[in-house]
């Protein structure tokens, strides 16, 4: 097997991750909760933090990227798994309504579609993304980002005209 799995105790490994991140980057917050290392970083340093996690700390798997629209700011959660019980959860908050953040596709290529989805649903622009297109919505003639809280849904019954 070409991929080496992390070994040893989960707790010591997690504190190793936290120390590794703390030593190299300025973290806004950082703590170990259960099996999760939760760090909050500034949006500018997200690609570097993830690059450290991948290259130095060998956290190999990016599970997902969640974007939360807090109406005025966006919170991004990067969930990283080390495949052996440990989780590194990197959070960042982007102020403003037109969020821009550096892409992590060069670190975790799987982020490609996750970032496309985030762009499609929230309009988060990822700097340096190779192929930032919409995933689900129409490519043309659709200027909305449906998961924004400002995008109202209609609860009207849809097939009224057909009845």
């Amino acid at each position: 097997m070409a991929v080496s799995m992390p070994g040893g105790d989960v707790a010591s490994r997690l504190s190793g991750y936290l120390d590794g991140l703390k030593n190299r980057h300025g973290l806004e917050e950082g703590e170990v909760e259960g099996n999760v290392v939760r760090v909050v970083v500034a949006p500018e340093s997200v690609p570097q933090v993830l690059a450290t996690a991948k290259a130095q700390l060998k956290v190999l798997h990016l599970s997902f990227i969640t974007v939360v629209d807090w109406e005025g700011s966006f919170e991004l959660t990067y969930e990283l798994l080390d495949l052996r019980g440990g989780t590194v959860r990197v959070k960042t908050v982007i102020e403003g309504t037109e969020p821009v953040i550096g892409s992590v596709t060069s670190v975790y290529p799987t982020a490609n579609w996750h970032e496309r989805e985030a762009y499609d649903m929230f309009g988060v622009a990822f700097r340096g993304h190779p192929d930032l297109r919409r995933t689900y919505m129409w490519q043309d003639h659709f200027d909305h980002h449906p998961l924004l809280k400002s995008f109202d849904i209609s609860t009207k019954r849809t097939f009224e005209g057909l009845r």
């Binding site: 959660t77 495949l83 995933t135 998961l147």
Partner: protein, 394 residues
Amino acid sequence: MLSEERRNETVALDGTASERLARPDIRSEFGLETMDMNMGPQHPAMHGLLRLILELDGETVMRCDPVMGYLHRSQEKIAENRMYPAVVPMTDRLDYFANIHNEHGYVLAVEDLLDAELPPRAEYIRVLMSELMRLASHIPSIGFLMLELGAFTPILYAFRERERIQNFLEAITGARMMFHYFRIGGVKADLPPGILEEISEYLDGLEGRFQTDTVDLVTGSEIYVARTKGVGRMTPEQALDIGVTGPPLRGTGVDFDIRRDYPYSVYNELDFNVVTDDAGDVAASYRVRIGEVWQSIRIIRQVIEKMPEGPVMADLGRRLRPKEGDGFGRVESPRGEYAVHVVSDGSDSAYRVHYRDPSFCSMQLLQEVVPGHYLPDIMPIMGMIDPVSGGWDK
């Protein structure tokens, strides 16, 4: 019939898709052009509604670009506008071939928010249902692969088994497909009397039938071997980079299973093996699936043996108002890692729900792995991840 060298010539293992295609460019020399082709969305082998924009040089695929969204229902937005319990039936509609796992991921996330303590019987019932669902998803997936390779019969044998498993699921939950059985804090109702004996009796017959009608009929065939061996080969690093999880990842040799590494429910009390293979091709991922069928049968037997008595529902109060914060649920669905992230703001309904669907993430391998293969190889490569339209389109 098939020469291994030739496959290796055509599909070099390492390098990106563009490097693989960098061969002496006779096309420009002779002024030849490639052909663009649209596969789907209405196409019998697209596992639902998927459109592939292909660039073909003869039969060789030069570029493959999946276009999604034909089944997009914005489940995440729907989940934001409903109270917590009312989202569970909607998660059934996500990956409609492994509904139980979707429900499980969501209820785990909400229970994480609520810090709920579940009665042991509920946990065992959940594991039982999950593994039955895994059987009902893995067995037809082999049939689907054969359907796409041109053999129609194995899928009907596989669906015979799925129908019987669905009969059990229907007896337990009341519906054949959209179960809505897991509730936040437990399961909807206790098992009907006598069902455990029926299931274990059925499993005895299933072992023999699965061996003959699927394993022997399918995997022994030389044509199956020729069509799947060496097709869609990935290295472990490549698979992790693409974000593949589940059987295709274990087929490359990465020993990763949520059930063991991030245990949920009572999986840490059960004894099972994580099946891996190291070839990394379509055949390997199907060997993993077949191995997981045997492991699932083993898990179900243990669950039936250990099934405790007691209530099946924790008392969480009538109105669910979780604390503010994040809830995470992560389960091993038949297609890989299925994760749910629920953000609560303290109200009746979630502020944000995010589903990490394995079909969606694994489908990136179409972009990466398919170029350099022949056109008919797209079908086994899609069969390798066995995506479900409702899953990747949310």
